[in-house]
Amino acid sequence: MLKLYDTELSSRLLLGTARYPSPAVLSEAVKRSGAGIVTVSLRRETSGSRTGGAFFELIRQLGVRILPNTAGCHSASEAVLTAKMAREVFGTNWIKLEVIGHHDSLQPDVFELVEAARILTNEGFDVFPYTTDDLIVGEKLLAAGCRVLMPWCAPIGSAAGPRNPSALVAMRAAFPDIPLIVDAGLGRPSHAAVVMELGYDAVLLNTAVASAGDPPAMGEAFAKAIDAGRLAYLAGMLEPREMAVPSTPVIGKAVFS
């Protein structure tokens, strides 16, 4: 079972809550995907006020764990402030830490990210950092107190799928005991299956589900792909080879010819 900061979760899918056609569709997508965690942006949905009102109430009523995020923050201090506000609003120490370096590309600013992670961990937060696939940044985040890493596999919202699978493989090998969640860049269920086959522990999705023609159906499709990828990883997959390998002996041929 997936364990994140001492919480056991039966689903390996984390779902974002932005940009659905309506809260009703969002709610249905959460149900059909079986997601155990939803992330919600404080800055975007509150427009500076601290209430968020009815929408946050709808999120609470989904009955799943809430992982507030700091989407839209561009500096450590901004992110720390938003995280504290999130703790008040949702009564949780969990925070998905996003510190964006570039408004346009949405690349994480890893320097500010590590700094914010250090401050927040010291203040008792359980930090889920949205980071790149850089190993050294990963190490520094762990040193700062993070016990989960959430690397991208492509830019946010790009739907491009794993752009650099070997970097993801290296990261898995470098941090064998740390829960790794692919956050950002997934477009279709097969992408999710690929990263799960690489041994990743979970995936986080938003646009790929929210902007699908039928978000609840897409949520379910992803859930199935994630299960398939995880099961395949545990089952042990064949390594690819250049030659055909007949599954029955070829009669009349020398075996090593």
Binding site: S22, S47, S49, T51, A54, S211
Partner: protein, 328 residues
């Protein structure tokens, strides 16, 4: 003949008042504002674009919205401009245009030359666009002024501004108070919308232009006098404070990307309205203790007010009874 009280002089209230008057009923309209249409209606885009809205809205929004342009044309002759809608995207967001096309009907793909023919101001700026020929738009402020005039001509009485409500024996009350109804109607929430008006003589558009973007889609609706309404954000809060710097920046950025001349335009107005919505973002006619409410218009006020007004007015002509327990 029965006497009805309509609370709220926005697009929903005026539409249902007009429908009731047309059916031969008497109507009083009250609003605490001194003039009509001062709520979210004042900041509306006025796009009668059921095909485009279908991209992210339930199918019912399309079917209920199809007759909106004809209704407004009848109620306020000359208010409706039937020039369609143009949908464009920056080159790197072309995937969004393809996606938009796959989610909608009633459009045709245009190339560079056809875009230039339709909107000379956008000549050379986009390689591809979607054209929704059968859509229309109107100027919400003018349309509501025209509708109020039609209501007065039909005998409807306005009671505007603070003051004691008229004490008469009303058959029923129609609550069309928009966001003010949020505390009273279960399931309603507020969705904040921010917009601005730009003024420039350097750009000329004949129809609403939507520019797709993964995070900040915008629309620009041309008005008279070189004005352009640029909208609109959708933020899940009922905070109606002034537009945020971020939203202002995003709307202006997007307008500038649509046409650089907007960079030289004057920002003549910014506005914030709260759109009441149910959790499926589809409006409803709901029963209240004293009659009916038209609630949850979300971002579809001018598009769906005609259908909701007909639905509510139709309830009364079919023999209204409070105890029936009706929700549309």
């Amino acid at each position: 003949m029965s006497l009805f009280l309509v609370k709220g002089a926005g697009v929903a209230g005026l539409s249902v008042a007009y429908e009731l008057l047309r059916r031969g009923e008497d109507v009083d309209i009250v609003d605490y504002q001194d003039t009509i249409g001062q709520g979210a209606s004042f900041f509306a885009g006025g796009m009668l674009a059921p095909y485009c809205e279908r991209e992210a809205a339930e199918d019912i929004v399309l079917t209920l919205g199809l007759d909106a342009a004809d209704w407004w044309d009848r109620a306020v002759p000359g208010a409706v401009v039937r020039n369609g809608t143009l949908v464009v995207a920056q080159p790197r967001d072309l995937a969004d245009l393809t996606r938009f096309a796959s989610r909608t009907n009633g459009h045709a793909w245009l190339g560079r030359n056809e875009i230039a023919d339709l909107e000379p101001s956008l000549s050379g700026r986009f390689d591809k666009a979607l054209f929704f020929e059968n859509e229309a738009h109107l100027d919400p402020r003018r349309a509501l002024t025209g509708l109020a005039k039609a209501i007065r001509n039909l005998g409807g009485l306005f009671h505007l501004g603070w003051g004691p409500p008229p004490k008469k024996n009303y058959t029923a009350v129609l609550d069309c108070t928009g966001p003010a109804a949020i505390p009273h109607i279960p399931g309603l929430r507020g969705v904040r919308g921010e917009m601005l008006y730009l003024e420039t003589g350097e750009v000329s558009l004949s129809r609403p232009v939507r520019m797709l973007h993964p995070r900040h889609p915008i629309y620009v609706v041309p008005r008279d006098d070189n004005r352009f309404m640029v909208g609109a954000t959708m933020i899940e809060t009922d905070d109606d404070g002034p537009i945020s710097a971020r939203s202002l920046m995003e709307l202006l950025n997007a307008a500038y990307a649509l046409h650089p001349a907007f960079g030289e335009a004057r920002v003549v107005e910014t506005g914030v309205g709260i759109r009441p919505a149910f959790d499926d973002n589809v409006p409803r006619v709901v029963e209240t203790g004293e009659g009916l409410a038209i609630a949850g218009m979300h971002r579809h006020g001018f598009l769906l007010a005609p259908a909701m007004a007909k639905k509510a007015a139709g309830r009364f002509s079919n023999g209204f009874a409070l105890q029936e327990g009706m929700t549309a």
